[in-house]
C-alpha cells in the first residue's frame, strides 16, 4: 500500500558498516554506582534544579523542572543520593553542569505520574502535557523538546506526521533494533502523537536496508492505523527536509520549519518515549545507543540510563582491540568528536562510535580544483565549493547570497571532496558569522 517515495537530488553512499551491530539484540546496561546527569539535554532553556546535594531521590523523580515553554524537566535515572551538583565534560568539549547521583543499588521507582491506559479517550492536551512532564525530546540527535513540535502556532495546520526510522548514518543500528524489537511501541507512540496532533494516521519512514524492521512494523501497522514507507538508501535520507520531501513531495522553504509545510517529524525512539510516558507513566531517563566501531571488542546496542559515562559504556562492550583515532557521539557523518571518556549518555546520544586509525587520515586541505562533486552530492542543491571560498575570504555576505543558511551540515560535500577541503567546517563558521551579524542588526 506504500506510495513510491520521491528521490531527493544528491546524496552519498558511504559504506554503512552496520553489520557490526545490526544483529545484536538490545541489552539492558547493568546498574552503575554513579551517574552524572548532564543538566541541559534539550534545545532551548536549561531546566532549573529542584534537588540539592545530599537529597535522596527515587528512580524517575524530578531533578530539575522546565523553565519556560522551550524547556523540559529532567528526572533521576535511578534511586540514590545526590552526591554533588558539579561539572562534567560535555559533548561539545566544554565542561557543563551535571548532577552526580550515587546509586543505592535498589533502583526503587518513584515516578511522578500515573499511567494513562485509556489514551484513546484522553484529551489530547492532557497527553501533550504528559509528554512535556516526562521530558521527552527529539532523540534522533537535536534534542528539540517534543511538546513544542506538537504545539503548532495558530494558523499552522498539520496534516502529516512522519516518524523517522531512516537511520541513514553509517554504523548506527539503535533505531533499527528498536523498530525490530519494539515495533508495537513504535506504532503505539506514533498513534498517540497523531492523536495529540488531531490526525488519524502517521507514516513511518524506514530506509530499505532494514527490510526486517519494515516487516515487523507492517505487521502492527494496521492495528494502530499507521503506514510504513520504505525509502531508498541514500545518505542523508534521514535529514528532516529530505525525509519530508521523500514522503510528501513538499519542500520545506529555506529557514522555515516542517510545520510550515504542515508536517511534524519525530524520531522513532522519541515515539517510544512518548508511548512509555503515556501508557506506562515513565519519564524519559533511558535511551538505546549503539556502541560500535572497528576497534570495539564486542559492538552492540544497549539501553543506557542517562548519565552513564562513556567509559562505563565502553567497558560493557569489552573495551577496544586497538587505540582508536576518534571517539564520536553519533554517527561518522555528523557525530561530534570527543576527547574525554567522562562525557555521559544523554537523551539524544544515538551512538558511541570509535573510528580506527586506518579509517581516517590526516589530510592537508588542497586548493579546490572545481571538480563539482560537492555540487552534485549536495542534498540542498547549493554550491559548497564556492561558498567555502566565500567563507575563507570572509565574504559572509556572498556566502549568505549563495544560501549557506540552507546547509544542513550533513557533510556529504566534505565526504567526496578530492582536495579534502573542510567544507562543512566553513559552512558552520559562515552560518555562525551571518547569524551574529543578523542579531547585531536587530
Amino acid at each position: 500500500m506504500s506510495d513510491k517515495p520521491r528521490k531527493f537530488k544528491g546524496g552519498v553512499h558511504p559504506n554503512d558498516s552496520k553489520a557490526l551491530s545490526a544483529t545484536k539484540p538490545i541489552q539492558d546496561a547493568p546498574l552503575l554506582e554513579t551517574y552524572k546527569v548532564i543538566m541541559h539535554q534539550n534545545i532551548g532553556a536549561p531546566p532549573e534544579l529542584v534537588v540539592s546535594k545530599g537529597d535522596v531521590v527515587k528512580k524517575g523523580e524530578l531533578l530539575a523542572k522546565a523553565t519556560g515553554f522551550v524547556s523540559v524537566p529532567l528526572h533521576a535515572p535511578t534511586s540514590g543520593t545526590i552526591k554533588a551538583i558539579d561539572k562534567c565534560p560535555g559533548p561539545t568539549g566544554m565542561a557543563v553542569p551535571a548532577i552526580e547521583i550515587t546509586a543505592d543499588g535498589e533502583d526503587v521507582w518513584g515516578s511522578p505520574f500515573e499511567p494513562i491506559a485509556d489514551w484513546t479517550n484522553t484529551d489530547p492536551a492532557e497527553l501533550k502535557q504528559r509528554v512535556w512532564d516526562a521530558g521527552v525530546v527529539g532523540m534522533g540527535g537535536a534534542g528539540f523538546p517534543m511538546h513544542v513540535k506538537l504545539s503548532p502556532p495558530e494558523g499552522k495546520k498539520i496534516d502529516t506526521l512522519i516518524l523517522n526510522g531512516a537511520e541513514c548514518e553509517p554504523y548506527l543500528t539503535a533505531d533499527h533494533r528498536l523498530m525490530l524489537e519494539q515495533a508495537e511501541e513504535v506504532a503505539l507512540g506514533a498513534a498517540i502523537v497523531a492523536r495529540i496532533l488531531g490526525l488519524e494516521t502517521a507514516v513511518i519512514g524506514v530506509e530499505d536496508n532494514k527490510p526486517d524492521a519494515i516487516k515487523m512494523l507492517e505487521e502492527v501497522a494496521g492495528k494502530y492505523n499507521v503506514r510504513v514507507q520504505g525509502l531508498p538508501v541514500n545518505y542523508p535520507q534521514g535529514a528532516e527536509k529530505q525525509l519530508i520531501y521523500a514522503i510528501t513531495g513538499r519542500e520545506v522553504p529555506i529557514g522555515k520549519l516542517p510545520m510550515d509545510v504542515s508536517c511534524v517529524v519525530q524520531n522513532v525512539a522519541s515515539a517510544v518515549a512518548v508511548a512509555d510516558a503515556v501508557v506506562k507513566g515513565l519519564p524519559s531517563i533511558e535511551r538505546i545507543t549503539t556502541v560500535t566501531g572497528k576497534p570495539v571488542v564486542n559492538p552492540g546496542n544497549w539501553r543506557f540510563r542517562i548519565g552513564t559515562p562513556i567509559e562505563k559504556a565502553l567497558e560493557l562492550v569489552g573495551g577496544v582491540n586497538e587505540q582508536p583515532a576518534k571517539l564520536l557521539l553519533g554517527g561518522p557523518m555528523m557525530g561530534i568528536a570527543q576527547n574525554s571518556l567522562g562525557v555521559t549518555v544523554m537523551k539524544n546520544t544515538s551512538g558511541i562510535l570509535l573510528i580506527a586509525t586506518d579509517e581516517v587520515s590526516l589530510y592537508t586541505s588542497e586548493p579546490c580544483i572545481r571538480c563539482g562533486r560537492c555540487v552534485e552530492v549536495c542534498p540542498m542543491s547549493i554550491l559548497p565549493a564556492t561558498i567555502s571560498q566565500a567563507v575563507e575570504n570572509k565574504r559572509f555576505d556572498w556566502a549568505e547570497e549563495l544560501n549557506v543558511l540552507a546547509c544542513i551540515e550533513c557533510g556529504s560535500c566534505s565526504y567526496v571532496c578530492p582536495s579534502h577541503r573542510p567544507l562543512n567546517q566553513h559552512f558552520k563558521r559562515g552560518k555562525i558569522e551571518i547569524q551574529a551579524q543578523l542579531r547585531k542588526k536587530k
Binding site: G319, K326, P332, V360, R370, T386, E409, P422
Partner: protein, 330 residues
C-alpha cells in the same frame, strides 16, 4: 586460588583526535584523479608513438619533464611547498606534448612548458586558480609565436619514407582523407589528436570513472557535427563532411581532454552543456569561415574566459528556495 581478572583495554583519551564532522571520507584525491586522467590519455599517446615513431615519445617525455621541472623550480623560487606529486604538472606536460607535432625542435617543448606552467598556471596562483587550460595557453602561445613550426606536420610511418611532411585532413581538399585513416590515426596532425579510436577509448575511461561531465563532449562534438553538417549539405565541394570535422583537427582530444578540465570549465551540469555548445559553435565558425583550418584551441580558451559568467547564471535552485518576491506577496 586467586580470581583471574581480565584487563580491558580502554582508549587513551589523550590520543584521540578532535575535528569537525564528517569523520569518514570517500578516499578520492587530486592525485588519484590526475593519474586516472593520465591513464585515459595513454591510448592516444601510444597511437601517436606508433604512427609518428620515437620522435613522438621524445616530445611527450620532454614536455612532461619540463613541466615538472619548471613547476618545482617555480615553487623553489616562490618558497612554496613541492606540488609535482599532485600530478597536475605531469598531466599538463603530457597534454602539451599531445598538442604538438612529433617533429618539433626540442626547445619548443621547453618553451611550451614555460608558457603552460608559469603563464598558464602559476602566475594566477597555481592549481585551481588558473582561468585558462595551461596546456592550451602554451599551444596557442606557440601557434601565434612560431606559426611555421606549429603548422608543419610529420607524415606517419604508413605514408612511406619519402614523404616527410603532410597536411592535416582539414588542411586538404574536402574528401581527400579516408575515414578509416582518421579513425585509427594515420593522418597528419598533432601527435595526440590523430587517432579517433584511441581518444574515444580514453574518453570512455574518463566517463566511466566520472572524471568528466559527459555533457561537455556531447554538446561540443554534437554541435560541431550539426553545424558543419549543414554547411557540408549546402556546399560539399567547399566544406568538409561533418564526419571529417568530428574525427580530425583535435576535436576529440579537445572535447574529451581539454574542454573538460575541471578547473577551467563550469561546475554545474547545466553550465557544462552551455560550455560544450559554446565550444562547438565557436569551433565551427572558426573552421568554416575563419582564417585557421582548426579552431578547437581558440574556442576552448574563449569559453574558459566565460566560465565564471556561466557559473554565475547556472546556479542550481537550492532545495526549498523561495524567491524574495513571492515571500513578500505572502
Amino acid at each position: 586460588m586467586s580470581e583471574t581478572e581480565t584487563t580491558i583495554q580502554m582508549p587513551d583519551p589523550t590520543r584521540l583526535v578532535v575535528s569537525n564532522s564528517p569523520h569518514i571520507r570517500e578516499g578520492q584525491s587530486i592525485n588519484k584523479i590526475m593519474f586516472t586522467v593520465v591513464l585515459a590519455m595513454l591510448p592516444a599517446c601510444l597511437a601517436g608513438i606508433w604512427f609518428f615513431g620515437m620522435a613522438a615519445l621524445n616530445v611527450l617525455l620532454l614536455c612532461t619533464v619540463s613541466c615538472v621541472v619548471i613547476e618545482e623550480g617555480w615553487n623553489k623560487l616562490m618558497k612554496r611547498a613541492s606540488t609535482w606529486k599532485d600530478g597536475s604538472a605531469i598531466l599538463t606536460g603530457i597534454l602539451l606534448g599531445m598538442n604538438l607535432n612529433a617533429g618539433v625542435p626540442w626547445w619548443v617543448c621547453i618553451l611550451g612548458g614555460i608558457l603552460a606552467i608559469i603563464l598558464g598556471k602559476q602566475l594566477f596562483g597555481g592549481l585551481g586558480y588558473n582561468p585558462f587550460n595551461p596546456a592550451l595557453v602554451a599551444r596557442v602561445g606557440l601557434l601565434i609565436g612560431l606559426p611555421e613550426i606549429m603548422t608543419t606536420w610529420n607524415s606517419t610511418r604508413a605514408m612511406g619514407a619519402d614523404v616527410i611532411t603532410t597536411a592535416t585532413p582539414l588542411g586538404m581538399a574536402p574528401g581527400a582523407s579516408e575515414v578509416k585513416d582518421m579513425l585509427i590515426g594515420n593522418t597528419g596532425g598533432c601527435l595526440g589528436e590523430t587517432s579517433a579510436v584511441a581518444l574515444l577509448i580514453g574518453g570512455a575511461i574518463l566517463i566511466a570513472f566520472k572524471l568528466i561531465k559527459w555533457q561537455v563532449p556531447l554538446a561540443f562534438i554534437g554541435s560541431v557535427f550539426v553545424i558543419t553538417g549543414i554547411a557540408h549539405w549546402i556546399n560539399p565541394s567547399v566544406y568538409h563532411s561533418p564526419v571529417a570535422h568530428v574525427l580530425s583537427g583535435g576535436l576529440l582530444l579537445g572535447a574529451f581532454f581539454m574542454a573538460t578540465d575541471m578547473v577551467t570549465s563550469p561546475m554545474t551540469k547545466k553550465g557544462a552543456i552551455i560550455f560544450g555548445l559554446g565550444c562547438g559553435i565557436m569551433t565551427s565558425l572558426i573552421r568554416l569561415w575563419g582564417s585557421y583550418p582548426e579552431g578547437v584551441s581558440f574556442s576552448i580558451l574563449f569559453m574558459n574566459a566565460l566560465t565564471p559568467l556561466i557559473d554565475r547564471v547556472t546556479i542550481n535552485k537550492p532545495f526549498g528556495f523561495e524567491s524574495p518576491a513571492k515571500e513578500e506577496m505572502e
